[in-house]
Amino acid sequence: MSTSLLEIRNITMQFGGVTAIDDLSFKVDTGDIYGLIGPNGAGKTTIFNIITGNYYPTKGEIYFDDNDITGTKPNHIVTKGIARTFQNIRLFKSMSVLENIMIGFHQRTNYSYPEAILRFPRYFQNEKRIKTEAMGILEEFGIADYANNAATALSYGNQRKVEIARALATQPKLLLLDEPAAGMNPIETEDLSNIIHKIKKDYDLTVLLIEHDMKFVNAMCNKVTVLDYGEMIFEGKPADAIVDEKVVSAYLGDFTHA
């Protein structure tokens, strides 16, 4: 029985003459924490942008829950149950932490524009509900105390948490994390991996993540795909990846012809 949640089928992405992704296929099964690794410029973030509808692939299809979602607009992708974080943290700067999370509830807030202007009871009910739910998520991440602080006033590690919490507020089935541990110290990284494990269990998530920190990947992922120049050079367990000859040569250079 196939339980794959996300299936990348023969994706090719060309920017002008440059082939960023070359005929890439892989499957992410329900319940996986799937790692996507590779040297800089290997095309990892490009894959994320294709999945979330920011780019339209030159060739190939993306299947999510057995539906073709190739070329669906980013805001519709969210409705289907895929949420993402960004490589460089992109919080809404003018808003408080709580408001940032409440943005994640946008699609599940049920009142119309006239109802908002005329302040119908539905406005108050919905606002109260999403505020409570947003606080619940913040508590889960241990940052409820900062709810009314400006989002950008938080420490780097906490800003990361807000970004993940915000993605979680959209109620995704699949969470895409783009270098979640980048720029973190070992303690923060440890804290982050605990949180990812916890929310994965509590919210029944499947996670696809990009990461350079191999220790983190080793501890987190049950499966990895290694990309180099847009091609898959390895697929399997993370422990096998770091001893694979092709992977090592992609990162450190090819010594055989030296």
Partner: protein
């Protein structure tokens, strides 16, 4: 309990506004009332312009276009048919112009709807671009409306403009609609739509990644803004009783831009206060144009001196309050902050 006291405070504020408006209309002299009317109209325009420019962060330069649409719509609807056929001197008015007639309230609503419809159509080309390009595209629209008004005498009487517009707009109308605009804008901002607009301003890609249809949100803000600009234009036409294409030049947009930047982009309270300061000081600084005696020394009359002083004041204000008078906060936020600070100390 907290919600209830909030509602009571808001009702009291609205009651105070109503009392002020009706008192002013009955008791103030026509000069002061004229200034108040001017402030009221510009408050409506600045508040609505702030929604698209400040809150949603789309640097657009078109309000003069929407104001012109609203003004012409109201003028055409209010002027009686036989007056129109006399007034259109260049060519005969189009038959549809002669048939259009309505009461004042309907004229204002139609003005708003007309501007809103144009905004809806305009949003398709406009929101394909971002940033500086958006500014240029919307600027072009403002020019097109004015040139259209200038060159289609069968509808707008060309450069001669429209005169003898019935002056139905008193301070009850203007002040009342300004209050309504203020309340509507605050309600929009503190709803999920307002949050989405701010999200689009802060980071459009991240907003889309949160499931916000950014085009729809921008169009919503644009159309809301256009509606009230159209209504404001209608009030302006009826208040001035005469309009011509030259009134709706880029200078009007520029004045509104000064107001919302001074007040703080994204702050409705700021826009309101800045309107009072900018429109008011144009009048209050009038004494500078005349001969002033300083320690027995006569400066002599310098017409235009007030504009110089006004510009200097603007520069000083922007130096000391770089994000505008209010930043992106409202009256309520500031009062809350003041109280919490007092409690802490």
């Amino acid at each position: 309990m907290k919600i209830l006291s909030n509602i009571i405070v808001k009702l009291l504020l609205i009651l105070a506004a109503i009392l002020f408006i009706s008192y002013s209309q009955q008791s103030l002299d026509s000069y002061t009332l004229g200034i108040l009317n001017n402030i009221g109209i510009f408050a409506i325009l600045a508040l609505s312009y702030n929604l698209i420019n400040g809150v949603t962060g789309q640097f657009s330069l078109e309000p003069n276009g929407f104001v012109a649409i609203g003004a012409y719509m109201t003028a055409i609807l209010l002027i009686p048919a036989d007056t129109k056929s006399d007034m259109y001197a260049l060519v005969d008015p189009a038959p549809v112009i002669l048939h259009m007639h309505s009461g004042f309230l309907m004229a204002l609503i139609f003005s708003g709807l007309a501007a809103m419809l144009v905004a809806m159509l305009l949003s398709f080309p406009v929101f394909r671009v971002r940033g500086d390009y958006l500014a240029i595209v919307t600027l072009g629209f403002g020019f097109i409306i004015r040139i259209f008004a200038m060159n289609s005498p069968a509808y707008t009487n060309g450069a001669m403009g429209l005169n003898d517009i019935p002056d139905s707009a008193n301070f009850l109308w203007i002040g009342g609609i300004a209050v309504v605009t203020f309340v509507v804008m605050l309600n929009v901002i503190s709803s999920k739509f307002g949050r989405a607009m701010k999200a689009v301003r802060d980071d459009e890609d991240a907003a889309a990644a949160m499931g916000i249809n950014t085009f729809k949100i921008k169009t919503t803000a644009f159309m809301t803004s256009a509606f009230f600009e159209g209504v404001g234009g209608g009030l302006l036409a009826s208040f001035l009783t005469t309009i011509s294409p030259d009134q709706f030049s880029f200078l009007m947009t520029f004045q509104l831009l000064i107001i919302i930047v001074l007040g703080g982009l994204g702050s409705m309270s700021g826009a309101l206060l800045a309107t009072i300061l900018v429109m008011g000081s144009m009048e209050w600084l009038r004494f500078l144009d005349s001969d002033i005696v300083i320690f027995g020394h006569h400066t002599g009359a310098h017409p235009g001196m007030r504009m110089v002083i006004f510009a200097v004041l603007l520069i000083i204000m922007m130096l000391f309050a770089r994000r505008g008078l209010f930043g992106d906060q409202e009256f309520g936020d500031l009062i809350k902050k003041l109280f919490s600070r007092r409690r802490n100390s």
